[in-house]
């Protein structure tokens, strides 16, 4: 029985997105998410984007609770409008910092936002000077632990893919083209559909480029190679 001044928190997320995989290339960032929102292990909602365009320089992708992310989209939208009052566009670094504080404050209230966020974009050191602008990927965990990376896989992808993604990155010496980065992401997605039962083979690759700005990717499908299933003894 609950005492009158106790309160109960949500202890589990309900509708969730799984891994996000992101990688920098010479002049931008590519971000891949699949297009399913799961209810437990059921693929409950298909054809849902897990990426949100903030402005021409910033893209946010999420893993974790979908309702929390929809709420966050509105928070971000308002913050972007607030910046416009001072004739400024919020950049990825600033938004990463803002969301870090938000997620940390929420976990301190024992009421965390159930998301892992990827803030991807182009950080402009000087306005409209492409020479000095740099790609940016920032990660924020559910508890507000934040860091910047050149490439990352979140969620169950962190266990499965970070090594594979990093190996591919190092093979190219960190100096890779957009097409190569996308190829690495697609290979990584193939690995998630083999190992992560909540991952889907419908996906999208969003990008932020210093020339083209933000592009939310088109939906794509990958089949993969299932010949190995023949040798799996667990089913007939």
């Amino acid at each position: 029985m609950m005492h009158h001044d106790e309160l109960q928190r949500t202890l589990n997320p309900t509708c969730t997105g799984t891994s996000v995989i992101a990688m920098q290339y010479k002049t931008g960032v590519v971000v891949m998410t699949d297009r399913v929102v799961s209810y437990g292990k059921t693929a409950r909602y298909k054809n849902v984007s897990r990426q949100y365009k903030v402005n021409d320089n910033v893209l946010v992708a999420f893993g974790g609770d979908h309702a929390d992310f929809q709420w966050l989209q509105n928070v971000i939208e308002r913050q972007a409008l607030f910046w416009k009052r001072f004739d400024q566009e919020i950049g990825p670094k600033a938004l990463h910092g803002y969301l870090t504080s938000l997620l940390y404050a929420r976990r301190c209230k024992m009421n965390p936002l159930w998301n892992t966020l990827i803030v991807a974009g182009i950080e402009e050191e000087e306005k409209n000077n492409k020479e000095t602008s740099t790609p940016f990927i920032g990660v924020i965990t559910q508890k507000g632990c934040a860091y910047q990376v050149k490439h990352v896989a979140t969620g169950i992808g962190a266990m499965l893919l970070n090594q594979a993604v990093e190996d591919s990155w190092r093979k190219k010496g960190g100096d890779i083209t957009r097409a190569e980065a996308e190829a690495v992401l697609k290979k990584a997605l193939e690995l998630t559909i083999y190992h992560d039962c909540t991952a889907d083979n419908d996906f999208e690759i969003g990008s932020v480029d210093s020339e083209d700005g933000v592009n939310l990717g088109k939906e794509e499908t990958i089949i993969g190679d299932w010949s190995i299933a023949e040798t799996n003894c667990q089913y007939e």
Binding site: N74, E77, L81, F82, K84
Partner: protein, 250 residues
């Protein structure tokens, strides 16, 4: 001024025996004496132009702007006492963000104008002194077309086809009435607004002035923007040439 010394002009909450509120009339005078502001609604957009008074040569270019965005779609132009207008602009922007939080869609121009008008009324009557500023609100979308509102120090809020406030408003309105507004597109409005403002300037008195414009229409895809410098100076060149031409004919 018959109001002075009667005691009926000391507070915005006091009526004079013939039913006037002098404090509000004084506030309106602050707008009437400011730089002329012209607002025009054409066939596919709205343009607002102001003859901004530059009070010091030491200010940087484009200091103290009078054209703003409340959100992407709604433009706001403030006439009269600058800090009063700026406070109204801050309030309007706050309302726009609040609306976005509660309804998850952008606030409409009519809702913004109404909300600011209500705020002015309550603030004037119950909180402090009147605002010595008026605010135009402009927007355009495909469905409803151009929309233009003016909120006054009294809290009055009307929708207009076109209007003018400030120093030379009477002359400006006379010029506006000659235009066939519903035939003019946004580019025409920019030129005509520049022409009217330059035509009604008092060459001897209005010296340190600068035109500032905001536009919203089909050409900007319904987004309100400050008119770019090159468009503005082209319009001023056109206006000067046109006025010279008209002088020659006379």
């Amino acid at each position: 001024m018959s109001s002075i010394g009667t005691g009926y002009d000391l507070a915005a909450s006091t009526f004079s025996p013939d039913g006037r509120i002098f404090q509000i009339e004084y506030a309106q005078k602050a707008v009437d004496n400011g730089g002329t502001m012209v607002a025009l609604r054409g066939k596919n957009g709205v343009v607002i132009a102001v003859d901004k008074v530059i009070t010091s040569k030491l200010y940087i270019d484009d200091a103290n702007p009078r054209m703003f965005n409340c959100n992407d779609n709604v433009g706001m132009a403030i006439a009269g006492v600058y800090p009063d207008g700026f406070a109204l602009k801050d309030y309007a922007c706050g309302e726009a963000i609040k609306w976005l939080k509660e309804y998850r869609e952008p606030m409409s121009v009519q809702k913004l104008a109404t909300s600011v008008a209500e705020y002015i009324h309550i603030f004037t009557l119950g909180i402090s002194r009147p605002f010595g500023a008026s605010a135009f609100f402009s927007a355009w979308d495909k469905k409803k077309g151009g929309r233009l509102f003016l909120v006054e120090p009294s809290g009055l809020n009307y929708e207009y086809k076109a209007w003018a406030v400030g120093k030379h408003r009477q002359a400006a309105k006379a010029e506006i009435e000659k235009l066939k507004l519903d035939q003019l597109d946004v580019q025409d409005l920019v030129r005509e607004a520049a022409r009217i403002i330059i035509a009604i300037r008092d060459e001897n008195k209005d010296k340190d002035v600068q035109i500032e414009m905001g536009w919203v229409g089909e050409n900007t895809n319904g987004k309100h923007e400050v008119v770019p410098d090159d468009v503005l100076s082209a319009a001023e060149d056109w206006a000067n040439a046109k006025l010279e031409e008209d002088d020659m004919e006379e």
